[in-house]
Symmetry: C2
Amino acid sequence: MDIEDERPADGDGAWSPKGLLAGTIAGIKPVSTTACSEAEALHARLTTPPGALGRLQDLGTRLAGMYGACPPPLPEPVAVAVFAADHGVHAQGVSPWPQEVTAQMVGNLAAGGAVVCALARQVGASVQVVDVGVAADLPDTPAVWARKVAHGTADMTVGPAMTPAEVTQAVEVGITVAHDLVGAGARLLVTGDMGIANTTASAALVSALTGLDPAVVTGRGAGVDDAGLVHKIDVVRRAIAVNHAGAEEPLRVLAAVGGLEHAALTGFLLAAAERQTPVVLDGVIAVSAALVARAMAPAAVGYWVAGHRSAEPGASAALEQLGLGPLLDLDLRLGEGSGAVLAVPLVQAAARVLRETATFDAAGVTDKS
Amino acid sequence: MDIEDERPADGDGAWSPKGLLAGTIAGIKPVSTTACSEAEALHARLTTPPGALGRLQDLGTRLAGMYGACPPPLPEPVAVAVFAADHGVHAQGVSPWPQEVTAQMVGNLAAGGAVVCALARQVGASVQVVDVGVAADLPDTPAVWARKVAHGTADMTVGPAMTPAEVTQAVEVGITVAHDLVGAGARLLVTGDMGIANTTASAALVSALTGLDPAVVTGRGAGVDDAGLVHKIDVVRRAIAVNHAGAEEPLRVLAAVGGLEHAALTGFLLAAAERQTPVVLDGVIAVSAALVARAMAPAAVGYWVAGHRSAEPGASAALEQLGLGPLLDLDLRLGEGSGAVLAVPLVQAAARVLRETATFDAAGVTDKS
C-alpha cells in the first residue's frame, strides 16, 4: 500500500468534503435559539430558587436548543456506537497491550462482558459495535456490524495512516451508523471506541489541530509507564513531523495521524448534528474526532455534550478548544464509551426537570420576595 | 417555651446518647475489609486496564465493604427520605423566602412536582417526605409521614434551637425512618431535606463542629444577595456565641444551632450504617448532620457516599473533614436531595461493573504484557 502516491497535494481542494460528507455538513442547522430562550423562561418559572440547578439548568436549556423544542423530549432510547479499529502505529511499541486485544475485546463487547456493556444496562442503553478497521476478519452479526474499511491503519510515523479513499469511506461509515441508529428510534447517541494504540492517534490529532505540543496532550492510555510515555510522546512528535500535519485541512490531518475509528466518529458526530440528535462524547478518542468535525462544521458543536473529563491530558485540551464543560470528572481512562454512558442519566435528568417540575403558579408555591 | 431551663449543664454526661440512639451507635460495625480486599482482587481480573476505572473502582470497592459482599448487590431499590422542618432563625431575615414556602413545598413534593421528584423518577427511586418539624399542621399521608416533633425550632440567636427532648425525638424519627425504609426493602438510601433557612443552621453546625469561621462556611442558600450574605454570617456568628457552641458534645451543638431535619438526618445516617445500608449524602444540610453523626460514631462514615459538591461553601468544608470525595460537581444548590439522587446511577454503576464485567480468563482476552 503506497499511501504517498495517493495523497493529493495540499491546498488544491482535494481535501474538501464531498459526497455524503458534504451533504451532511450542508444539512447542519444551528441549535434553536428560540427553544433555548423558551427553556430559560420555563426554568425561571419552575419551583426552584433561581440558579439553584447549576449546570443542570444549562444542560436542559442546551437540550431544548438541540431538539428545537421546549420542553425537550426525554433523551431516550439511547444508542451507544462503539467504533473498533486497529492502528499501524502499534508497531512502534506505544502500548503494553498486544494488537490482538482489539479483536478480543470486540468479542467481549459483543458478548456483553465489557464494562461499557454493564454501564449501558444500568442506563437502559443499547450497544452497537461497528468494525470499521479491526486487523482481524470478523463476521457480520447483529452485535457487531461489519463495516471494515481496512485491516487497521498504516504506521503514521512513516507516512499517512490512511489513504484519502479510506478516510472518506470511514467517515461515511460513521454517518450511516448515525443514520441507522436514529432511524431505528434513538434520540440520544453516545460515542464509544475500541482500538489498541488509539490514544496515540488521538494525541497526534489533538496536537496537530490545537497546536499544543505532543508532550502536553499525550497520556498514558491503557497504561504505559514513565519510559513508555516518553517514547509515546516521541512517536506522536515524529508522526506529526513526517506528515507535516497542521490544522489547515482537517481531513488531511485525520488521514495523516488519525484512526479509522476517529474518521468514523467524525462522520458520526456530524450526522448526529444534521439529524438534530444530541450526542454524548466519551474521552480523548471522541473529543479528538470532534476537533476534526468542528473544523468542518462549527455549528455541530451545539449538539454535543461532553460526558466526562478523561484522565488523558489530550481530552482536557480538546474540550477546552471545543468550549464544552464535562459533566463528570471521575479520573476514568477506560474508553469504550464508558464515561459518556455514565453521564447519560444526567442528560436525561436535565430534560426531565424541564418536562416534569411544577411551576410556582401550578404548585401554589410563593415565589421569592 | 423556656429552653434554657431544660438545658443540662455541660460535661455532666447529660448529652451522651441514650436509648434508641445509643443502641444504634453500638450496633454500627466497620465496613468489611475482607469484602473490600476481594473487590480489589476482582477489579484486577476484570477486562479493563489497571486503574482505568478511576474513582468508579474506589466506589465499587467501598460498596463491597458496606454490604459485606463481593460482588456487592445492585444498590436498588432506592429510597429518598426528605426531612422537612422550619427554623426559628428565619425571623432574623436570613432568607428571601417566606417561611410558608416550606409547607407549600411539602405539598409540591407530595404531588410529585418538585425537582427531586422528577430526578427520582429518572433513576427509579421512591421519595418519602417526613414532616419532622414544619411550622404548619399537615395531615399524615402515605406521601408525607407525620412525625412532627415541633412546629419549627426556636431562634438560635437567642438560645438553643431545640430542647434535649426535641433533639432526642427528632434523632429517633430519623432512625425509625431508616428502619422503615430498609425494612420495606430499600438497599440504597438517599438524604433529602426541605426547610426555609436551613442553610443557616447548616452553616452554624459546620462552623461549630469544624472550628472554621462562619464567614468561610456560610453561603447564599436559596439566594441571598451580598448584603444578605453579610447579615447571614453575622446571624451564624451570634448563634454560635450565644450558645457557646463548640465541637465537644455533638448532641448539644445539634440542639443549640441545628434544625429538626438535621437531627433526623443524624439519626438516619447512623441507622443506615447500623443496617449496613449505603446512604448517598446530598448537600450542606446532610453533610452538616453527617459531622454530628460522625462525632458519635466514626465508623459510620464508611457507609456514606458523597453525592455531589454543593455550591454552599460549608458543604465542601464538611466533606473535607469527613474525608469523602463528591461524585458530582454541577454547581447545584437546590437541596431536596437533588444532587444525591443524580449520583445514584453512578453508585449503581460501580456495583454493576463488579457484578457483570467479564474477567480476562472468562472473556479470552490477553492481559497486558
